[in-house]
């Protein structure tokens, strides 16, 4: 097997091909061969690098450089600059954003990559590259040197907690299923990553699927399970494709299927796709979906270990939980437990979205503070604006203000602060965010995704949403805040599953930390962050306006009038507060009141 010092991924999406991607790739391979580099540098096809109309384009790893708008004539220079002289060919670098890899660049300070270690470095469609990075060694060790009980002991000692959000010790769940008799048991991987802002699992599935497969086989071995499913959301077609290829390749090498590595242990699995329902990330709803039903949760007990898929003992874990297992087996429990802090061991991937300079994926040990994550690892707030809040734990999590920035990122601290760890989505918000609007936004999401089975969630979230909508429209009433408090308490206490139980959390946390903003909306009919459309108005400053007419020509509702070279005027009755005029004005003549 060849070891390559660099990988070039050439985009072969229809747009890029239309612009000559085939010819560029051919030129690239010819040039590399001519320079004697073809054995050191691997050229691969890929899709969807990020933008789809700056092609032909390519990504070069390990640097993570994105070259765009390439022609065949550019190739000799590019090869000479980048691969012979070791310099980034600046003139082709994708210029519209400072980042080159939109999601995952080189590790930033304070990162420790366990789950993400191979992402971007290996070809996910080639099992040999995974094996070259110690892949499937852990499986070999587990099957030939350890008993199932020893595997459970090791993973327990490592302190690995479920990474899907609940944080339950992973190996303890396996031990429950291990103790159940009978041949029909199931191992399930929850790849229905639906939290807005979370895309860590997606990246791991697309870039390093074997880490997940290997972890699943080891877990299955420890619990005496022979059949598995990966339930992957339909919005991740590339992940599904990559997984299926990985499964085929693993089977072909005897790493999956009958009598794995000659050990006598058999385990096989298949991918099942979702169909667009956030609630199917809840384990009982997920299992209902695999069974071909509506994704409605059911009460627990009975827990999946007793009665899961088709009523049989089942274990459900998140993608990231499984992806940690091979390294734990290889490097030992002590190594893993040395990362993180007392109760939260190991590392966690996070997907940072929002108003920071470096959005994308990171992996850090537990115990790192929120401040370090935002300002050290992610480069601080964009455009030098002020930090306002960070949402942790997805739509069931809370918003934490600046006063909480020194909290350590771990399970207990997040819960104590009125939020939760969740799956790892972090949304950072700056001073231009309205917290009432954000709470309303999350409630819209949970309302939309509520399965409808239980009244507190189905009706309760709708009532909360109605109140929040009224508040944002300037029709808030004095007793609204008390009603919201009451509704939140009731829905949390009486909902059937985690979706309903967690739905009030964004509202509760913003009421707690940003009550003044709610009060401004209700009592003064003002939106301090100038976001809520009904409470703001756009105004053109007559002394600054040059009458260039750009705004009036772009206004979708023709609310702006004015002669050329005369100050323009916005009609507040017609204006829909879309903000397009302010965006297109070249003279900063438009303000928001």
């Amino acid at each position: 097997m060849k070891y390559f010092r660099s990988h070039i991924l050439v985009c072969k999406d229809p747009d890029c091909v239309h612009k000559g991607a085939h010819e560029v790739m051919d030129a690239l391979q010819r040039e590399l061969a001519a320079e004697g580099l073809i054995n050191e540098i691997q050229v691969l096809e890929t899709s969807r690098i990020g933008r789809c109309w700056n092609g032909p384009e390519m990504m070069v790893y390990p640097e993570g450089v994105h070259y765009t708008n390439l022609t065949v004539d550019d190739i000799p220079f590019l090869v000479e600059e980048h691969f012979l002289k070791g310099r980034i060919a600046e003139r082709f670098v994708e210029t519209e954003k400072a980042l080159v890899d939109e999601e995952l660049g080189a590790p930033k300070s304070k990162e420790i990559r366990v789950v993400l270690r191979n992402c971007g470095k290996i070809d996910p469609e080639n099992i040999e590259e995974y094996i070259a990075e110690d892949g499937y060694q852990a499986l070999g060790k587990a099957l030939t040197e350890m008993t199932p009980a020893q595997v459970i002991e090791t993973v327990l000692a490592s302190g690995l907690r479920g990474r899907g959000g609940a944080g339950f010790p992973a190996a303890r769940k396996w031990s429950f299923v291990a103790a159940r008799q009978g041949p029909d048991k199931f191992l399930i991987c929850n790849a229905d990553e639906g939290d807005p802002g979370a895309f860590m699992n997606r990246r791991v599935l697309e870039s390093d699927p074997h880490a997940v497969l290997e972890g699943m086989v080891i877990a299955a071995y420890s619990a005496g399970i022979h059949q598995g499913y990966i339930y992957c959301r339909a919005e991740y077609p590339i992940a599904v494709k990559t997984l299926n290829i990985a499964i085929q390749q693993a089977r072909a090498l005897g790493l999956l299927g009958e009598n794995i590595l000659g050990s006598g242990f058999s385990f096989d699995l298949e991918v099942r796709m979702g169909a667009g329902a956030f609630v199917c990330g809840e384990e009982t709803a997920l299992m209902a979906s695999i069974e071909g039903k509506r994704g409605e949760p059911r009460p627990r007990p009975p827990f999946p270990a007793d009665s899961g898929l088709w009523g049989k003992p089942s274990n459900v874990n998140n993608v990231e939980t499984y992806a940690n297992v091979p390294q734990i087996i290889l490097k030992g429990a002590d190594w893993y437990a040395s990362l993180g802090n007392e109760k939260s061991k190991g590392t966690k991937t996070f997907a940072i979205a929002g108003d920071v300079n470096n959005t994308g994926l990171i992996e850090v040990p537990f115990g790192i503070s929120l401040r370090e994550i935002i300002f050290d690892v992610c480069g601080g707030i964009k455009d030098n604006k002020q930090f306002k809040a960070i949402q942790t734990g997805g739509p069931m999590g809370g918003c934490l203000p600046a006063s909480h920035l020194d909290l350590p990122m771990d399970y207990e601290s997040m819960t104590a602060a009125g939020s939760m760890m969740g799956s790892g989505g972090l949304i950072v918000m700056d001073e231009d965010t309205c917290m009432v609007d954000i709470a309303r936004f999350f409630m819209e999401f949970t309302q939309d995704e509520s399965c409808g089975k239980c009244t507190p969630c189905r009706v309760g979230t709708r009532r909360i949403l109605e109140i929040l909508n009224r508040i944002c429209e300037g029709k808030g009433r004095p007793d609204d805040l008390d009603t919201l408090d009451l509704l939140c308490r009731e829905i949390k206490a009486t909902s059937l599953c985690g979706l309903g139980q967690g739905a009030p959390t964004p509202v509760e946390s913003t009421l707690k930390h940003f009550r003044a903003e709610y009060e401004a909306h209700i009592y003064q009919k003002k939106c301090p962050a100038k976001v809520c459309k009904s409470l703001i108005s756009y105004e053109i400053l007559p002394e600054t306006c040059t009458g260039c007419t750009v705004c009036s020509r772009n206004c979708p509702v023709t609310a702006i009038s004015g002669e050329r070279r005369q100050a323009h005027l916005i009609d507040p009755e017609v204006c829909v507060r879309c903000g397009i005029c302010m965006q297109v004005c070249n003279f900063n003549a438009i303000i928001v009141n």
Binding site: P196, G197, A198, G276, G354
Partner: protein, 160 residues
């Protein structure tokens, strides 16, 4: 001379293909529905009937699953379907302006189909590509880092 299969024939063939591929079992219902939805663009009543028949289930049971999942539709859609991410991470990086531009360009609201049957605009939950938000999907094509001024150029690619 090319004879176009009628819509009934197309639906029937799609259902047959799905049943062939997945087998007529209860737990394959969602893959079967997804396959037919992808082929036809939505799930016509005829499809639900034929699937119910093959699975020996009442049509209501099939409908209850078809109407639950966001990526399945029991009502007809336009020639091109735009799925626009309306979740918070896209929202906080300019999603509002992009959806305004889409609504302006298409002259329809989310959930509606244009009068000429060309476009359906749907607001969907997080697509999982938040690092390149605001984002939307047209049919099977993904667009990221979208700004309002790019919207008409993107839509024009599909006017043919």
């Amino acid at each position: 001379m090319v004879v176009e299969a009628s819509i009934n024939e197309r639906v029937h063939l799609a259902v047959e293909a799905a049943l062939d591929r997945f087998g007529a079992h209860d737990d394959e219902l969602i893959p079967i529905l997804s396959h037919v939805n992808h082929e036809i663009g939505y799930l016509p009543g005829q499809a639900l009937e034929e699937i119910a028949h093959a699975l020996k289930k009442p049509k209501s049971k099939v409908f209850t699953v078809a109407s639950f999942y966001g990526m399945l539709s029991t009502i007809p859609v336009g020639k091109h379907v735009i799925r626009f991410c309306e979740s918070a991470p896209c929202h906080v990086v300019g999603g509002r302006q992009v959806i305004a531009a889409l609504k302006q360009a298409l002259r329809i609201n989310p959930g509606e189909t244009s009068a000429d049957g060309q476009w359906t605009l749907l607001a969907v939950s997080c697509l999982g590509i938040c690092a390149v938000g605001p984002a939307f999907i047209v049919d099977d094509d993904v667009y990221g880092n979208v700004t309002p001024d790019q919207v008409s150029a993107i839509l024009q690619k599909y006017q043919a």
